[in-house]
Symmetry: C3
Subunit: 320 residues, 3 copies
């Protein structure tokens, strides 16, 4: 068995690649570390010098203005120097391989790579390679890889749940939507299980669920009304239109009818249930505006907590 590449031999976090396999104490320590950073953002001067003089590279092989922005702000509030690199794969095929790009940036004395890539496993590959070349003082943060993982999203979701529900021990949580194509869902399921949530549900049509999804530690519901009954937390997923071929879904209207979160479906959850969404939302597709803008939604606090969680992760990886 190989060693988890994101932990060093003392069991400390070196890279953040996936939530799968992370010890509960590490997840909890990230959430604990994030709390004071929520206060930084409310100060007059929203900066702390924890990463001053460090070079953080946002390596975006897949375009995502929103995610890049959250990491850029987090790094700048930590006083890092941030370099944005939007590398479309077409130009990398022009000659330079992924690992040659990494070698080069490592040679520029990078301190951290925030990596977004359309291929599952790319951040792992980079972290492994850094170890091979003796450069694992450079830390890697996975900002979303293929269908695999989006660990900072999973962590900010846990922060949000803990903020509103205090404890994970007695919760029922439903993850609703396109689980099949969602790296977010994978990270959420792992995190909820590690943190001891007794019942994690996935709610989706069969065509949008991975094979044998039950093995990930979830209960499966194909009927949304049944799936939402009595839950404490509803985590909606974005319908990844661009990743689907037409065969999987009849129409977005049809989808909304059966799997869109409307006030009447939400009424089946506990009265104090919270509604989450990783954004950007498709209003009228997976979520009704009445819910998205309603009193149970905590979608914008997720964004706020996301900056603090990313500051915590970056700062912890940098050795603080």
């Amino acid at each position: 068995m190989t060693h988890d590449p994101q932990l060093n031999k003392h069991g400390e976090l070196q890279h953040l690649l996936t939530i799968d396999g992370l010890p509960r104490e590490i997840i909890t320590s990230i959430l604990d570390a994030a709390a004071p950073f929520t206060e930084v953002a409310e100060r007059e001067v929203k900066k702390v010098p924890l990463l001053r003089g460090k070079s953080v590279f946002n390596l975006f092989f897949e375009n995502s203005t929103r995610t890049r922005t959250t990491f850029e702000i987090a790094a700048k509030r930590l006083s890092a120097d941030v370099i944005n690199l939007n590398i479309n794969t077409s130009s990398t095929t022009k000659g330079e391989t992924l690992l040659d790009t990494v070698d080069n940036l490592a040679a520029m004395q990078a301190d951290m790579f925030v990596v977004r890539h359309a291929s599952s496993g790319a951040p792992h590959l980079i972290a492994q390679h850094l170890r091979n070349i003796g450069a694992d003082h450079i830390r890697v943060v996975n900002a979303g890889d293929g269908r695999h993982a989006h660990p900072t999203q999973g962590l900010l979701d846990m922060y949000t749940i803990r903020h509103y529900k205090k404890d994970f021990a007695n919760l029922t949580v439903a993850i609703v939507g396109d689980v099949l194509h969602s790296r977010v869902a994978r990270s959420q399921i792992h995190a909820l299980n590690i943190l001891g949530v007794p019942e994690v549900r996935v709610v989706a049509p069969k065509t949008l669920l991975p094979n044998e999804v039950e093995r990930m530690g979830v209960r499966v519901f194909n009927d949304m009304r049944e799936g939402l009954r009595g839950v404490d937390v509803v985590m909606m997923l974005r319908l990844q239109n661009e990743r689907m071929n037409g065969a999987l879904l009849p129409s977005t209207q049809e989808y909304f009818k059966y799997y869109g979160l409307t006030p009447d479906k939400l009424d089946l959850a506990k009265p104090d249930a919270i509604v989450m969404h990783p954004g950007p939302m498709n209003r009228g597709v997976e979520i009704d505006s009445a819910v998205a803008d309603g009193g149970q939604a905590v979608i914008l606090p997720q964004v706020t907590f996301g900056i603090a969680v990313r500051m915590a992760v970056m700062s912890m990886l940098a050795g603080n």
Copy 2:
């Protein structure tokens, strides 16, 4: 009547959305505040800490490298953290609405949005929305919206005129060119009227003038030679080729013949008249190089003053 959304209840500037309706004292106070910032740019270290730790987002829904650059420099010289977001509308239609984008950036604890948008009114809409969600500590600067307004351009033009002519009270000013499609012209006309310029002229063919333009407080000239006679200031407009359908103009050569600013036409203005242009210039279309590079042109000082005026606006909005 609704309250002017750019002023708070004490009549202080909260947002800069348009010059239309701004009290003269506010315009004057911005021009006064800009003066010391022209000196910052001449120092060895061109920075002041007025926006240190603030997060300024350049939200450019319409591409403009030049305008984005001026705001980016202004913000960095104020020590702000600047995040550039080029959001093309095609990707926003992919699911997220303008207001969802704003909500998200607000949740990231933004301090200021510099907004460029192809639709008239977008910055107003954003400012209104920020008030609705209780986030109007986030300030909005309009960096050009559709055909509506480009208030920092209007202000830097007023700074330039005041710099060279000292007083607005006895001036005759001609605005020449494509007034119909120009947000710059609208901002200039409002500013000149508010500051008490006794005669503001617009000079253009009928096809490039808005209906009932006289109501904005201008005298209309279709003949450029008549329109320039005796003026103190000539403000040329960029010919917005990309916004016109062919029907409005016969050809750029024809345009240059009748409305291009040549030395002989300029001779009709006062001998000490100054020539302005918001840039980028179409040499040989609306302006002859002999004038653009001649002794009466103050086109490059406009750019220099523009940085100082933007620093003044941002710093004033941020509460300094």
Copy 3:
């Protein structure tokens, strides 16, 4: 004879446009100045305040993420404010000339322009223009112009050679590959000659050599095995696929067979010969992976030294 535009009347470096014609003492002083900057990159806080409050503009008229990144890091580690401008030539033809763009940025009180342009001579033109308008306190660094020059690449190559070989006086150096289209090769040949390398070889098929290349002070080899015999340094060039029309080369496989650097060809060089490449590499085209990743390659140290050399150049131009 016109004065070298990159030197002031005291013979001090004002701009870095080309290595051709630079006095040996200036090249040596840049290499000497770079040494301490390699240590900055190993500190906890990788920053020095030498360019604090200066505005450095990366003017990239030709896209190059890699080169832009090296200058951006160098400038940020010197504490400059960096503004990236990717100006595609199609949009500049929309109305504004290169010199109007320069005038505008100069009016924004720029301190330094780092210029990449597809046309040979563009950085010279800019430097000349800045002198004409009395703005040559703004310094110009050529980051690659057409087929003309890439002086910081040439300098970092010299730094690398000096680092490994200590002295230039007894070296034989081979430059291998597409010399015809390579600005890098031109800068290397000039630098090696100025620094007194007794034998500079170019190794390439006739179709990839400029006419009368011997006049540049090189020995020509069409056979790679002969050309590598007994050399101390092998400088590979990137095969500029995108610049060639099909007529010049039969195929990349054929090219690799005759001009690709393989272990057996490298065996003809001195046993302690070093292998250099400006990147990005085309593995299996101009270089074999066994060599690129082998013990004689100093390709990644070139990158590291490149940051230090760029910091030295920028800092020297800024008057430190």
